[in-house]
Symmetry: C2
């Protein structure tokens, strides 16, 4: 998917919501557990009920890997279902991968070719040659961790190298990488004030923003400081939407939660 | 596996060799491609021929994920084969994972419980709460990236925060984390001179050292600066061993390469 197509979808749906499919068998409605593939059954219901309210889904690969082969199969079924039924959706494999060059190419193939995701999240620690292999794929997007929403973000990301925090250094440096136009960035919503600084470095890049809701971020603040000319934000909510109810009405209740967020978002889209 | 058991195995085999199982279908002997599971068939032959010369195997998960479900199945069969037939071997899932707390717990479950690896590699960028969930597993080891062997290591890892490079800051900070005795570190062999500095910070920790061979590192230098009282090194070689030949004799040739390295290593073990 091109960035232009993503922006067009945002304008059409008046939404820049991304729904995180972090599916935990201990948290889904118990009546689904008798299904052959409870995780996929859950995802399918959530997707069917919410696809018109969001522009993106983001399965976190950890939740699938934790169930071994079965979990990987559920992930595969979920991405195929999305690509076949809702091809307009921007899909994100939240995998936070990163390795030396030839190995990063293998990861890129896994997520861009084998699973056919539109994008994948990556970690920056290993630098340029660990990320560039992802950037060579046409119309695919690489979403690099910049400033995360967890407490540990302050351990290294906000430490100063010369006069700039590490996360700013990561943003700045990545702009010089080959095909850097295929980069987006993860920026946690728990620190809305940082968005002003970030927008000075990457004024137009898309930012994937976790931490609105469960992790305490505030939509209004994020929009105030983070919106770009092309919106430039994908705001993720996982647990707050998908676990809105664990009864038979779980998908309906999830849609209500998503609608509530979309109704707030539409005010920020001209 | 406990660290004590790992050290005992090193002493017994007079080896601290780790063999990287980075299996690429384009590089394995073509006669294996007619097998039902060529990747597992390759790994099994390599393991059977080399297990007495090394103390550890390290499948890099990227190479398995690139083949989707089939690849994940080959990984599962490989680790089960190792655990059943060579339980003395220290197994490493080279996955370079890392995410916020509850998600890191899912990754830890995937590799420590579902797949039953002895250890997993993780990335440090997200800090303490992204790594600590891995450290709570008894007799499991978490191998954190410190200084990697690729060119991109110089993008961020060697940049100075106050007076210390980021990778030293990572090493130092991690020592204060809960259950930090379960930490090991990845240190690239292309920069042997750094080992002196690293040993000042983590004198006894095990270091997993990639980059001897294909990436240009030198065994002698690494031993000179990196050995600790308990050896404290796992030296990895992947392509140099497993792709020694692509004929029918591939396993035999791999064993010859491994033996050559083991013969050098025995001189460093008292």
């Amino acid at each position: 998917m091109t960035t232009k197509e993503l922006v067009a979808q945002i304008q059409k749906k008046k939404s820049f919501l991304c729904i995180g499919l972090d599916v935990d068998l201990d948290k889904i409605p118990s009546h689904l557990l008798k299904e052959e593939d409870p995780i996929f059954a859950f995802n399918k219901a959530i997707i069917d009920a919410t696809h018109h309210l969001c522009v993106s889904y983001k399965p976190n690969t950890a939740f699938y890997e934790a169930y071994g082969l079965k979990g990987w199969k559920s992930l595969e079924k979920t991405i195929h279902y999305l690509n076949e039924n809702y091809p307009e959706i921007f899909t994100i494999a939240d995998a936070k991968r990163g390795d030396i060059g030839n190995t990063s190419t293998m990861y890129a193939k896994a997520f861009f070719e084998d699973l056919a995701f539109d994008s994948v999240t990556v970690a920056p620690y290993m630098g340029k040659d660990s990320v560039e292999p992802f950037l060579t794929f046409k119309d695919k997007h690489t979403i690099m961790l910049a400033l995360t929403s967890n407490e540990g973000a302050f351990d290294f990301q906000t430490k100063k190298i010369d006069d700039n925090e590490l996360y700013k250094h990561v943003l700045e440096t990545s702009k010089s990488w080959k095909n850097s136009e295929n980069l987006m960035y993860v920026v946690g919503a728990t620190k809305a004030e940082y968005f002003t600084e970030i927008r000075k470095i990457v004024p137009n890049s898309f930012l994937l923003v976790p931490g609105v809701g469960a992790q305490g971020g505030n939509l209004q603040d994020v929009c105030k400081y983070g919106l770009s000319e092309n919106v430039g934000l994908l705001i993720n909510s996982s647990r707050g939407i998908i676990y809105a109810s664990n009864g038979n009405d779980f998908a309906e209740k999830a849609a209500k939660k998503a609608l509530k967020i979309q109704q707030q978002m539409k005010n920020y889209i001209k």
